[in-house]
């Protein structure tokens, strides 16, 4: 707000700012009371069912609650100390990072590629629906399907046999070097659809004119994409990126179902690790500590998102 001119200051003095402020406050208070009524159900649900558990979780991560023992003793950072000292934790954290990065990079690049490919192609809608379809399947069902696709006698090996001409029986989900890529591929198969649809929506919202202007300016199609369309698409890309990252962080169902035969399943990601420690071994407090660590990481990412998004929007709008 610009500084007030002298005459405005006089005006304010004449009419008295306090009375105005009071009147505005009264209006706002009345509005607030009404708004609170409208928000009440949502607030109750969210606070009671979502925020309370989060606080509870943070508290319990500082206790030594396990198995049959009640929730009473406060042990400070002991769980965290134990956690950070564990080699399984390091492994799970590392794998989570791989997950996050892969489920960010691959679906976004692939989704963008497919979106560009499909734009305006004949039967665009049919293709779009097909690629989106896995998204409405439950991850559990997807996990079951792909579990058998990857089985030693499953579809993938069969197809590879057809290609190579000899029998292939790789145990994709049994080996350390293939299990993560295999599950990531499934994750990608499931999530590319939504990424693609979001990007297509973004692309269709890219105004036609700057693209045509670039064409007039002498840009070849790829230059148009690179110099004009993608920069304009940045806000959508940021949204998509963040959706992908969060999906990567919290992915559980696929890892649970598809990793069930992998000897070191609990190290596949932090979430699986937490589930093991808490529910398999009854280490509630310890599991709670892992959950808090995941929470902190997710908040960090969300925060970065907010920054990126603000920047991207400032750039384009």
């Amino acid at each position: 707000m610009s500084a007030l001119s002298e005459s405005d200051q006089k005006l304010l003095e004449r009419i008295g700012t306090d009375r105005i402020a009071m009147r505005e406050r009264k209006t706002r208070r009345r509005n607030f009371a009404t708004a609170l009524l409208f928000m009440a159900p949502a607030l109750l649900l969210v606070c009671g069912m979502l925020l309370y558990p989060v606080l509870f979780n943070i508290w319990l991560s500082f206790t030594d609650w396990r198995k049959f023992k009640g929730l009473d003793t406060f042990v400070g950072f002991q769980n965290y100390k134990r956690l950070f000292g564990q080699i399984y934790f390091a492994e799970a954290a590392f794998n989570t990072m791989i997950w996050v990065v892969a489920s960010l990079v691959v679906p976004v690049i692939l989704g963008l590629g497919i979106a560009i490919l499909l734009r305006g192609v004949r039967f665009e809608n049919a293709f779009k629906n097909l690629i989106f379809l896995p998204r409405v399947l439950a991850p559990t069902a997807v996990g079951v399907i792909w579990f058998y696709v990857y089985a030693p006698t499953g579809l993938l090996n069969y197809l590879l046999s057809l290609v190579t001409g000899e029998t292939v029986s790789v145990g994709w989900l049994y080996q350390a070097n293939t299990v993560t890529p295999a599950i990531i591929a499934t994750h990608v198969w499931q999530t590319v659809g939504i990424v693609m649809v979001l990007l297509l929506l973004g692309l269709s919202a890219v105004p036609r004119d700057p693209v045509e202007a670039a064409q007039m300016d002498g840009a070849k199609p790829w230059q148009t994409y690179f110099h004009v369309i993608l920069p304009i698409l940045t806000p959508t890309l940021v949204v998509v990126t963040i959706i992908s990252v969060l999906a990567g962080f919290t992915a559980f169902d696929l890892l649970w179902v598809m990793g069930s035969t992998y000897p070191s399943q609990r190290t596949l990601s932090l979430v699986v690790f937490m589930y093991f420690e808490a529910f398999q071994k009854g280490g509630w407090a310890f599991g709670g500590a892992i959950a808090v660590v995941i929470g902190v990481l997710v908040l960090l990412v969300t925060w970065i998102q907010a920054l990126l998004q603000a920047r991207a929007e400032r750039m384009v709008r």
């Binding site: 198995k67 089985a151 030693p152 006698t153 035969t261 000897p263 399943q265």
Partner: protein
């Protein structure tokens, strides 16, 4: 009156209910089964209800260390009075009662007592002119002969992620039962010579091609399809093979695996499924009525007919030919019951150790075995050290 029975054996819930209904008819106290899945959730449910001081009256649990932990809470009732009558009536053996003892008191009745035996394909054995092996040498000879005929001798997989210990514990028992027991209280290390010997043996058997692809997810079906001639599994597996199309007695038989050292007493792994009663439940007559029906000959018959499971009542009908045969074999050989590795090992180590064993199945070389032994022992040592 209805009494609830909580369990995590969803696949047997109908069968449980058959018994429950029969109890209702016979005694007026109907058992209503409540099934939970998966097991982790079930454990969490029981653990938290105990933590809050209100455990279910009647529920299934696990034997071994898991049972010890439960008993330690003081919230389940000893059932020695019940057992006194059961043993006195001659329906149950003392050895069966021993399966449920913690510090001298008995805390459970069985809903299943399954021996871990070798199922074998009778046709394959007949084709190769083989009969039930009585000694380790005969077993190995049979394996060699089968192998030579292009038949894989043994079926073993990592299906569902928990099966890795089966052969490990069996081989431990067949070679060094004392060391086997020592594994469970920290006195024998997982990288001790006794264990290494087992891994060597196991690895050699793999090297000879004795085992099927560990990555199959259709273990019982594989056996039924003739992918292997022998299948080491709990007696409850009989029903699965049956369902997969191979008929007991006619198509396949069962025997207890012989010991490597013939001087050792005959032994078999017994997996017992315990059913426990809370302290409060013990005071309720209906609960005890239900429990009594469950363990009675009538109850056992209904259950075995419905589920194919043996609960240890020797006066009851054997649920299937396999159980009958094994019971008879045990009697003749004075076979002793051994605790299953899964129940015997501290629960906190179960998951991690069995994962390592699965890792061996997938890469059964001695090099890998050495690494695995090291890692298992590291976990084991940590655990016992923390226990001090």
């Amino acid at each position: 009156a209805d009494v609830p029975l909580y369990h995590d054996k969803g696949f047997w819930s109908q069968q449980f209910q058959v018994v429950g209904d029969a109890a209702g008819e016979k005694t007026g106290v109907r058992i209503v089964q409540n099934s939970y899945a998966p097991p982790e959730q079930y454990k969490a449910f029981v653990q938290s209800s105990i933590a809050s001081g209100s455990p279910p009256d009647l529920f299934t649990w696990w034997t071994g260390q898991t049972m010890n932990e439960l008993v330690a809470t003081g919230q389940v009732a000893p059932l020695d009075d019940v057992w006194e009558k059961l043993v006195a009536s001659g329906e149950y053996d003392q050895s069966t009662q021993d399966l449920f003892k913690v510090d001298g008191k008995t805390y459970a009745v069985p809903f299943s007592v399954a021996r871990w035996v070798v199922l074998y394909n009778k046709k394959m054995f007949a084709d190769q002119g083989l009969s039930e092996p009585k000694t380790w040498e005969e077993l190995m000879a049979a394996a060699d002969k089968l192998k030579a005929a292009g038949i894989t001798p043994f079926n073993a997989t990592v299906q569902e992620g928990w099966r890795g210990f089966i052969w490990f514990s069996e081989l431990m028992i067949r070679t060094d039962p004392e060391a086997y027991k020592g594994l469970f209280n920290g006195t024998v290390a997982y990288d001790s010579p006794a264990v290494e010997k087992v891994f060597q043996l196991w690895s050699d058997m793999y090297a000879k091609g004795y085992f099927t692809d560990p990555r199959s997810n259709e273990e019982p079906q594989d056996f039924a399809r003739g992918k292997a001639a022998m299948y080491l599994i709990g007696e409850w597996g009989e029903g699965l093979v049956d369902a997969a199309g191979l008929k007991p007695d006619a198509d396949f038989g069962a025997f207890i695996m012989p010991n490597m050292d013939p001087k050792l007493p005959s032994a078999v792994v017994v997996e017992a499924g315990p059913m426990v009663v809370s302290v409060a439940g013990k005071e309720k007559p209906d609960i005890m009525t239900a429990l009594n029906f469950w363990t009675s000959v009538d109850g056992a018959n209904v259950w075995s007919k419905a589920s194919g499971n043996f609960i240890g009542n020797t006066k009851a009908d054997a649920p299937n030919p396999t159980v009958a045969k094994i019971s008879a074999d045990m009697k003749t050989n004075n076979t002793v019951a051994m605790q299953r590795w899964w129940e015997a090992v501290p629960p906190d180590l179960q998951g991690e150790l069995v994962a390592e064993l699965n890792g061996f199945l997938l890469n059964p070389t001695m090099d890998n075995a050495k690494m695995i032994m090291g890692r298992m022992q590291a976990l084991n040592a940590d655990y016992w050290e923390a226990k001090q």
